[in-house]
């Protein structure tokens, strides 16, 4: 061990440095010799090889975008297709004066401002030797005009590509969605490697939520080019991997029938298979043509869509929120049984008005004078408000919203689409967070009949009914049933396990509520008692009518015309079938419908009929009704006698004048 030197030794340090600098220099020279030897290797040893490659270097790689996966319905009907088209592309590095080129080119092929803006944006983002699309979807005429003038525009070319087409137009616009041209925002979030050469990306619907699966992986080809950079021939092709095809659980026939049943009236319907959460139909009326969006929608078309008072771009099934009204009464009744607040035999006397003990304000039943004593089955059959007012009040809002939450109210259902609304499940916490006010008992009372703050999307309600129909086993709704990795490959089913255990503890409770919902269709006083006629399997359902505005005049009490009421009501109907082995659950809403059963009921029945036809009229493992098993003659068309002063509840009876007599 050397002695520790405690003072600096400048002379020693200088010598040390000298040695180090020399050592460093030697190392540097050696490294540079190593570098030089690499150049010798390239420039002398392999010179000939590289000269050959250099003179043959007329080869440029070009990305080949993958073909986007196709979308089929559950029976293999094509919903989204790829069709060949042509577009104009520019290679920036070959253009000396871009503005002049665009001006000259504009005289040959008309370029509108939208094209130019998109082009300039993308120009900034791409490398100089990558071609940038200028105008999509050229017409035959434009292709011909450019072909004649092509010699004037080196660096500009007509390039074939695949564009998206939706053969069924608007029928699936709200579900399948559409693709659109990639814009600057997209470029920032997309992986540039995966999207080389790709011009379109999923914008809405399944096209967006399944973008990753639909897109695929690009390939490339080696092109021989001439001095202008024009392709002479293709030397090598490394094929892209196309995106996977999607098989939806939707059925075109069901979708078509459901859309037709609305007859253009704004509304939405969703049908779900309660056994697995598969969505069988999902319509939002009115709809729009998604093909308009694919290659850039014109200002005029877009203005027409956005200015339409019926808002065709609005996906009512997914985003529309409406008070559920009486459709949730069966679930409220189930809550009473499951929480032990009620037995099936407990009954309530309906007098026409319900009062919270000690309060002045009355909550009306829908029939003036009430219907007398009813138990749960009767209360569901006749939609007796008083029963549910009292039940909700007895449960209290906390227990009430806890139980209703199990059916998915107040939160997204988890369907495989983006942008779902949560709706509102009334609760103390929700009101405190949104209104900064305490909860009032009156709000619990009206929550019992699906009014007040309560708001649901058609998807949520059909999900809740499907969950009930499936004996309480919750499944997140799914539109995509399977993916397919090639034309001849076997479709791979996507698993959709239940999102939890059954929310119903006692199967007997389910039987009671199921019976109540069957009575709606088959009971002597059932609110939907015409809807089961001729349907060969047991149906169960529930109607709902919610007022759109609070009442301002007496007109409501006196004017009973269907047309007038339709402007004031939203009509709901929910149903499932067969009631002894549920395989389809449907919810439908008409934004303007006089009464739930009479306006929305037939839409649901049409969907069920079409579904049955799709099974050739035979459902396994379900009791088939005798053909003559028509329900009891429906009640006379007595308009329901509805309403309290300032509250919403209204209930429904089919108000059809064609029927013969019956109990008043």
């Amino acid at each position: 061990m050397k002695l520790r030197r405690s003072i600096k030794d400048p002379r020693g340090e200088s010598l040390l440095f000298r040695r180090r600098a020399l050592a460093g220099f030697v190392l540097i020279v050696l490294s540079l010799c190593l570098l030089l030897s690499r150049f010798v290797f390239l420039q002398v040893t392999h010179h000939d090889e590289f000269v050959t490659r250099s003179t043959n270097n007329r080869v440029k790689p070009r990305a080949i975008p993958p073909a986007r996966g196709l979308i089929y319905d559950r029976n293999g009907v094509l919903l989204a297709d790829n069709v060949p088209a042509f577009r104009l592309e520019v290679v920036p590095e070959q253009i000396k004066d871009m503005p002049a080129l665009l001006a000259q080119l504009g005289q040959v092929v008309p370029l509108d401002q939208d094209d130019l803006d998109a082009f300039r944006k993308q120009l900034k983002q791409s490398r100089r030797f990558e071609s940038v699309p200028l105008k999509m979807h050229l017409t035959e005429d434009e292709i011909a005009r450019f072909a004649v003038n092509r010699w004037r525009f080196p660096g500009v070319d007509v390039v074939p590509y695949l564009t998206r087409r939706y053969p069924l137009g608007g029928m699936f616009a709200h579900v399948v969605g559409y693709v659109g041209r990639i814009d600057t925002d997209d470029l920032e979030r997309l992986d540039p490697k995966r999207y080389q050469g790709t011009s379109h990306v999923g914008r809405s619907g399944l096209e967006r939520s399944y973008e990753n699966i639909l897109h695929g992986t690009p390939g490339y080809e080696l092109l021989e080019v001439n001095a202008d950079g024009r392709t002479q021939r293709v030397l090598e092709t490394h094929a892209p991997t196309p995106g996977k095809n999607l098989y939806l659980s939707l059925d075109v026939r069901l979708q078509k029938a459901a859309e037709a049943a609305f007859d253009g009236r704004p509304g939405a319907a969703v049908a779900i298979d309660p056994r697995n959460g598969q969505v069988l139909a999902m319509v939002s009326v009115p709809t729009f043509d998604p093909n308009l969006f694919v290659n850039g929608i014109s200002q005029v078309d877009y203005a027409a869509l956005t200015n339409d008072p019926d808002k065709p771009l609005y996906n009512r099934a997914l985003r529309g929120v409406y008070p559920p009204g009486s459709t949730v009464k069966p679930l409220v009744g189930l809550a009473g049984l499951e929480t032990g607040m009620r037995t099936p035999q407990d009954s309530v006397v309906s007098t026409g008005v319900f009062y919270i003990p000690g309060q002045q304000r009355g909550y009306r039943d829908d029939q003036r004078g009430g219907v007398g004593r009813v138990d749960l089955v009767g209360a569901i059959e006749q939609s007796v408000n008083t029963y549910f007012y009292k039940l909700a009040l007895d449960m209290g809002i906390d227990r009430f919203s806890d139980y209703m939450g199990k059916f998915g109210f107040g939160r997204p259902t988890g369907i495989d689409l983006i942008g779902e609304s949560s709706g509102v499940l009334p609760s103390r916490e929700w009101k405190a967070a949104n209104y900064k006010q305490p909860w009032y008992p009156g709000e619990t009372v009206i929550a019992g009949i699906g009014q007040g703050f309560w708001a649901v999307t058609p998807l949520q309600l059909s999900h809740a009914i499907a969950t009930f129909a499936g004996h309480g086993v919750p499944y997140a709704p799914r539109l995509v049933m399977a993916t397919q990795g090639g034309v001849n490959a076997k479709p791979q089913p996507l698993a959709n396990p239940p999102s939890g255990p059954s929310v119903i503890r006692n199967p007997a409770d389910w039987d009671v509520v199921n019976q109540g919902m069957q009575q709606v269709i088959y009971g002597a006083k059932g609110t939907g008692r015409q809807l089961g006629i001729g349907f060969p399997y047991l149906m169960a359902g529930k109607s709902g009518t919610a007022e759109r505005f609070s009442r301002r005049s007496e007109a409501y009490d006196t004017n009973r015309s269907t047309e007038y009421l339709a402007t004031r009501h939203r009509a709901w109907f929910v149903a499932y079938a067969p009631a002894d082995n549920p395989q389809i659950a449907v919810a439908a809403i008409l934004e303007s419908g006089a009464w739930g059963a009479s306006a929305a009921g037939p839409i649901v029945r049409t969907i069920l009929d079409t579904w049955l036809a799709g099974h050739d009229g035979v459902i396994a493992d379900a009791k088939r009704l005798p053909v003559s098993a028509a329900p009891l003659p429906p009640a006379a068309s007595i308009p329901p006698d509805a309403g309290a002063e300032d509250i919403e509840p209204v209930e429904d009876l089919p108000a059809q004048a064609t029927t013969t007599g019956g109990p008043p």
Binding site: R5, E13, R20, A21, F25, L32, R38, T55, E93
Partner: protein, 371 residues
């Protein structure tokens, strides 16, 4: 008070204005290099005078800075060292917090111009290490080595995080060279290098995916024919086709037909190799070796430890530029954004390099007097 300050400022100015002593061999080497750079740029940029003019303008600016810095005596530079180091590291922190830049965050927008603080560290890092080691007992022990290691690690970590691997390597090398020149024992160097080599698998884990891709692409360029693999292949074709005597000035086909990307900046060496062949490459490498050697000569002649270490570190880090860029162009090293000094087009690197040589000139001007 004010008068005293004024007198001090005048004294300072007089001192730096009356000592314009330049090392002629070094200046000559740099001058030849800059001319070579402009000529290559003219050819690589398709005869664009705007490109060459812009670069010449930066050389003039860099030259002026060189002259200015050469008149600041090394003791003054030594006094500034900790402040300059702290200031430039603080700027890195600012960049990390609010900087802007596409993909990686390297730039500070000053309104008038955009500014890359990591560039400053290339000079302030060796200044700081030299400042630290100057009063210490040399060769350094573990304690001082650890301290220097920390001084290097903080800014290098910030730069690597941006991520800007090329600059991080250059800055780290500048600091490490100062430590090497201070006489750190060989066995300690061996131990540290061994430890660093052991850390490589761990470091791999911390690289960004694109950085890993670049390394993997080097091993197998055909795997990425549309991106960096393409760069590597095209660059090697350009170099290899140049042969011994080259295709002649302005006769490179690879860059002319735009097969070679970035051919005025990071890949300009490939254009040079294609046009001037192995002979030109050997001459250029010899010129670089001459400049580095002259820097080390100046360092040996320097008056004190600080000057020695600083001059030596600046000279040796110049080598890193050449080696990393040359290795990248020849397909030996991964694609890292390190320019070929004074030849690649680009302002900040030219200006900061010439400023560094200004420091060397100053050290030369204040060398030991041989009696």
């Amino acid at each position: 008070m004010i008068e005293a300050l004024y007198a001090r400022a005048r004294r300072f100015l007089r001192r730096i204005l009356t000592r314009p002593r330049i090392d002629l061999p070094l200046a000559f080497g740099l001058f030849v290099l800059a001319l070579t750079g402009l000529a290559t740029l003219y050819s690589a940029g398709d005869g664009s005078l705007a490109l060459v003019g812009g670069q010449a303008g930066r050389f003039v600016l860099g030259g002026a800075l060189l002259l200015l810095v050469s008149r600041i005596p090394p003791p003054v530079l030594r006094g500034w060292a900790p402040w300059l180091y702290a200031g430039s590291t603080a700027l890195l922190v600012v960049v990390a917090i609010l900087g802007e830049g596409r993909g990686s965050i390297r730039w500070l927008d000053l309104g008038v111009m955009r500014f890359q603080p990591s560039e400053l560290l290339k000079l302030t890092m060796p200044m700081m290490v030299a400042w630290y080691l100057h009063p210490r007992q040399l060769p350094p022990g573990w304690k001082d080595i650890a301290m220097v290691g920390l001084l290097i690690a903080i800014p290098v970590g910030l730069i690597a995080e941006q991520p800007d691997l090329g600059t991080a390597v250059l800055v780290a090398a500048a600091g490490a060279f100062a430590l090497f020149l201070s006489g750190m024992a060989w066995w300690r160097i061996g131990l540290l290098v061994g430890a660093v080599a052991g850390m490589v698998p761990v470091g791999w884990h911390f690289l960004h995916q694109y950085q890993r891709d670049r390394v993997l692409t080097l091993l197998n360029p055909e795997s990425d024919p549309l991106g960096n693999g393409w760069h590597i292949i095209q660059s090697q074709i350009a170099v290899g086709s140049g042969g011994i005597f080259g295709k002649g000035w302005q006769h490179s086909t690879q860059s002319r037909l735009d097969f070679l990307p970035e051919h005025t900046t990071d890949f300009i060496f490939a254009v040079f190799s294609e046009e001037f062949g192995l002979v030109g490459v050997a001459a250029l490498i010899a010129l670089y070796a001459f400049i580095i050697g002259r820097c080390l000569w100046i360092a040996m002649e320097a008056r004190d430890t600080y000057s020695r270490l600083l001059a030596g570190a600046i000279g040796m880090s110049f080598f890193v530029y050449v080696f990393v860029n040359g290795g990248m162009v020849a397909g030996m090293l991964p694609v890292v954004g390190v320019p070929l000094p004074l030849i690649s087009y680009g302002g900040t690197s030219a200006v900061s390099l010439l400023t560094g040589f200004g420091v060397l000139m100053s050290i030369h001007a204040n060398r030991k007097m041989h009696l």
